[in-house]
């Protein structure tokens, strides 16, 4: 490049632009969200306030929900499944991801292995678990073979079955998310802690854990929301009329057994509200902890 060419190469003067052109790139996404989320949501919301028997007033569906234990009881039942499943998944992910934080062949192998169940979907997992955990499945045969139990224990068509399936189907996702948060923490921080006298446990407790907390809150919420909307495995592996009559089953019954779509919408709205409440609660807890970059300083 010659010096003479320089003035020609300088940028033309910029016109003041009102709308950032890059913003238009978001347009497809905006349309997508409007069409697939906002519209059905608004429609459902309106529908839930228009009960079939209009005479009972616009709040009738919600009143019915909170009057009938068959309805309001589902909230507790679902929470009773979703919260333990989420806690188990997050709780198991942290130590395993911590052990695997250094990139290695093992890490690649396990992450690949864990992507598979995510792609399989919950129905296939529920189906598989049904055979493994059934009275003739391997788990019982091994337990019997080892003499740990006298007769097959009941692992399906009850609470345990659904909880197990929530753990199996939710864990890969929670783990991969946690792993990506942990590997984002600069290992030189732990080295610095080491030179200052921190053993392995203190390195985790003082450095990794506090820096991981905001990420864990997100992992918790995403895992929880998934678990709270459990449907296929609650039906296939659980007792859909009893202990695992989760809120999504109630919505399903209202819609497709009673053909009361407004009621089903009301149930769905309440379900969304509970999810939102827990999410807001957990994420607002993040305000109490450090949430900045997790690097070691300059550079």
């Amino acid at each position: 490049m010659t010096v003479d060419a320089l003035p020609a190469a300088t940028l033309p003067e910029r016109q003041p632009v009102r709308i950032d052109r890059a913003a238009w790139l978001a347009l497809p996404a905006v349309i997508f969200v409007l069409a697939l989320f906002i519209f059905p949501f608004g429609y459902g919301l309106v529908l839930s306030f228009s009960p079939l028997e209009a005479a009972q007033g616009w709040l009738a569906n919600y009143a019915k929900f909170f009057a009938d234990p068959a309805y309001y009881g589902t909230i507790a039942k679902t929470l009773w499944l979703a919260l333990p499943a989420t806690l188990i998944n997050v709780g198991a992910s942290v130590p395993i991801a911590y052990r695997m934080r250094v990139p290695s062949g093992g890490q690649r192998f396990v992450t690949t292995l864990l992507v598979i169940p995510i792609t399989l979907g919950t129905v296939l997992i529920a189906d598989g678990l049904l055979t493994y955990l059934g009275p003739q499945g391997w788990v019982n045969r091994i337990l019997l073979g080892l003499g740990l139990v006298d007769s097959p224990i009941r692992l399906v068509h009850n609470y345990t079955g659904v909880l197990l399936s929530l753990v199996v189907s939710g864990f890969p996702f929670t783990f991969l998310l946690t792993l990506s948060y942990i590997t984002g923490i600069d290992p030189v921080l732990a080295q610095a802690a080491r030179t200052l006298g921190a053993g392995p446990w203190r390195q985790f407790k003082e450095i990794y854990f506090p820096l991981l907390l905001p990420g864990l809150a997100v992992a918790f919420c995403l895992t929880f929301v998934q678990a709270f909307s459990v449907f296929p495995s609650a039906v296939l592996l659980g007792a859909p009329a009893g202990a695992t009559r989760v809120i999504s089953i109630a919505a399903y019954e209202a819609a497709f057994e009673n053909y009361d779509f407004p009621m089903a919408s009301a149930v769905a709205m309440i379900m969304g509200l509970v999810q939102l409440a827990i999410t807001v609660l957990v994420l607002s807890g993040r305000r109490l902890v450090y949430r900045g970059p997790v690097g070691g300083g300059k550079g």
Partner: protein
């Protein structure tokens, strides 16, 4: 669960032929070095020569491939990093982003189970020493680069380690701050340090800070000496090049004279003189235009830069060798002149340094 890591005072730290390999790459070869208490030692060398590796081996962050490290008569290379208790200032500071300045500095003391009261006192003293008084409760992300660096230093010294390790702590600072921090590091070393090992690739920094400099290249220690030693009496070509002897003239040596085509240059023989093929090196600062005469090299000027007090010029000899020189008088490109250098400023080394092939001298004859 507190462990005593205080080594108290010591006399010397000894590296005994330590090696470190990464696969087939030999990052550190047979490094031996003894550091006395109170000493400020600089590890100097080009990028990739193994400086950080050496420091990490000392700190215990990298296991040795072979060799031993002794603190007086205690072997410490078998201890994990957290039990060696050396203070380390990392190249990128590695401050804990979620802890205040005060917490960062107090971390090492807390890990040692020091009582809260005493931690507060010692941290306050350290904060005063590095002049961070009004920033004590900020997070590292809210500090400037220079302030972060001072936190990193305070955090490493507050535990009163027998040895402070610093990995190019000034490399990311601007020129002015770098000079200030240099003085501060030296001051802190004098007031607290029992010994400091300081890694840098900046020869000027090493010369101005260190009591002793270790020059490394390709994992090998090439010379150990005082700044004056290295500056005036480099032991080999690598060190000479690193110490600013940027002009090189290769030719046949006869006693103290090197012949390069029709140029004969008088110098000082710096090594055994095993081969007749030799390289003479000298600094641009020592080469200047002279009236034709002894130790003169005729050149054609190919470039001139204005350097304030003097002109920095580049000349090419008849044989095509580029030489850098200084001139007080204005010169212009295309001038033909003679550049002269005092014989005692010309150092002569065997061509090829240590690795000179055996048959080379014979073949040349």
């Amino acid at each position: 669960m507190t462990q005593r890591t205080d080594h108290g005072d010591f006399r010397e730290l000894r590296l005994d032929r330590i090696n470190r390999t990464f696969g087939s790459h030999h990052a550190l070869r047979d490094m031996s070095l003894t550091i006395q208490v109170g000493e400020f030692v600089a590890l100097l060398g080009p990028s990739g020569c193994g400086k950080t590796t050496a420091l990490n081996c000392l700190a215990g962050l990298l296991p040795l491939s072979s060799g031993a490290i002794w603190l007086d008569d205690r072997r410490i290379d078998v201890l994990p990093s957290e039990k060696r208790g050396f203070g380390m200032v990392f190249q990128n500071y590695a401050l804990f982003p979620h802890m205040s300045v005060r917490k960062n500095i107090g971390f090492g003391l807390a890990m040692r189970g020091v009582a809260k009261r005493e931690i507060a006192e010692r941290v306050d003293r350290a904060i005063r020493m590095v002049q961070l008084g009004q920033h004590a409760d900020k997070l590292p992300g809210q500090l400037s680069g220079g302030q972060q660096q001072r936190v990193a230093i305070a955090r490493a010294i507050v535990i009163e380690p027998p040895l402070v390790l610093m990995d190019e702590p000034l490399s990311n600072l601007d020129a002015k701050l770098r000079l200030e921090m240099r003085a501060e590091i030296r001051r802190i070393h004098t007031s607290v340090g029992r010994a400091t090992v300081y890694v840098t690739h900046d020869q000027e920094e090493a010369l101005s800070l260190a009591d002793r400099i270790v020059v490394m290249k390709d994992g090998l220690v090439r010379q150990v000496g005082t700044p004056e030693d290295l500056y005036h009496r480099p032991a080999n070509l690598d060190v000479a090049r690193f110490m600013g002897f940027r002009n090189e003239l290769a030719g046949e040596a006869e006693g103290n004279v090197i012949r390069h085509r029709d140029v004969a240059l008088q110098g000082v023989r710096r090594d055994a003189g095993a081969t007749r093929q030799a390289v003479a090196v000298f600094r641009p600062e020592d080469l200047e235009p002279v009236a034709a005469g002894a130790n003169g090299i005729p050149v054609t000027v190919t470039a001139v830069e204005y350097g304030g007090r003097e002109f920095h010029l580049t000349g090419v000899t008849a044989g095509g060798v580029e030489l850098l020189a200084r001139s007080r008088e204005r010169v212009v490109v295309g001038d033909r002149l003679t550049l002269g250098v005092a014989p005692e400023q010309v150092l002569m080394f065997d061509a090829g340094g240590d690795a000179a092939p055996r048959g080379f001298a014979a073949a040349a004859e």
